[in-house]
Symmetry: C2
Subunit: 132 residues, 2 copies
């Protein structure tokens, strides 16, 4: 089965995970980085929607399962070392739990950190009390 | 000093590193992912050229120090969790040691891995014998 051959080529770390970068497929905006294991990758490929592995909750989850902010898969790439994945997706709504489109909204400058947060929706609207 | 305040806000892992994603600033192409520590980040900000931390060689290095394929800094962002950095850069030549512009040239599909490698330069031309 092809999935087994794919999994064999990926160099998972000692926690059986690899980092995965999510990029909006049409604008090129980098939205977030998370972690994925073999099972989550398989679910992602099978369903066409991104599944990650949560290190804090120790479980597989579909992005947007609580918030509705799902990520539809367009393309998936493995890097030259086989230890990082880039996934091009179509983000429904926003990627960040803060309500920002991207998680990368804090600018690092010589003068310090500059918050460029510009939420499109409040976390309360996204989750009620639960954090996706 | 501002640098100390920046470093304090970053959640380095148990090896005192965080992942850093390099993106071509104008095209949006994601070029590579590597690791950075506090010293490499400081050098990057001070010099305007990207420095990484090599886990295999256990030392700080300037990207392109051997190959000439340097990365000029345009913008740096920290993510909402403080544990991943996105750096927007202007890549001189190619980012990947294989001679490809990007390290993400292997497509993961339902039918398996599809190599979309299209090197602009040979590794021999880039390095002679040494790998950057």
């Amino acid at each position: 089965m092809e999935m087994e051959n794919i999994i064999k080529k990926i160099k998972f770390n000692d926690k059986e995970l690899v980092p995965i970068i999510a990029q909006q497929y049409d604008t090129g905006e980098v939205l977030m980085m998370a972690w994925i294991n073999d099972e989550a990758l398989q679910k992602t490929i099978e369903t066409g929607f991104v599944h990650y592995y949560s290190r804090s909750r120790d479980k597989l989850w579909q992005k947007g399962e609580t918030s509705g902010q799902t990520q539809q898969v367009k393309d998936i790439f493995l890097d030259c070392d086989g230890d990082t994945i880039l996934i091009k997706i179509d983000q429904k709504g926003v990627a960040c739990h803060t309500g920002n489109k991207t998680c990368f909204f804090t600018s690092i400058t010589k003068d310090g950190l500059v918050d460029k947060s510009n939420p499109e929706i409040s976390p309360e609207e996204l989750y009620g009390t639960k954090h996706d």
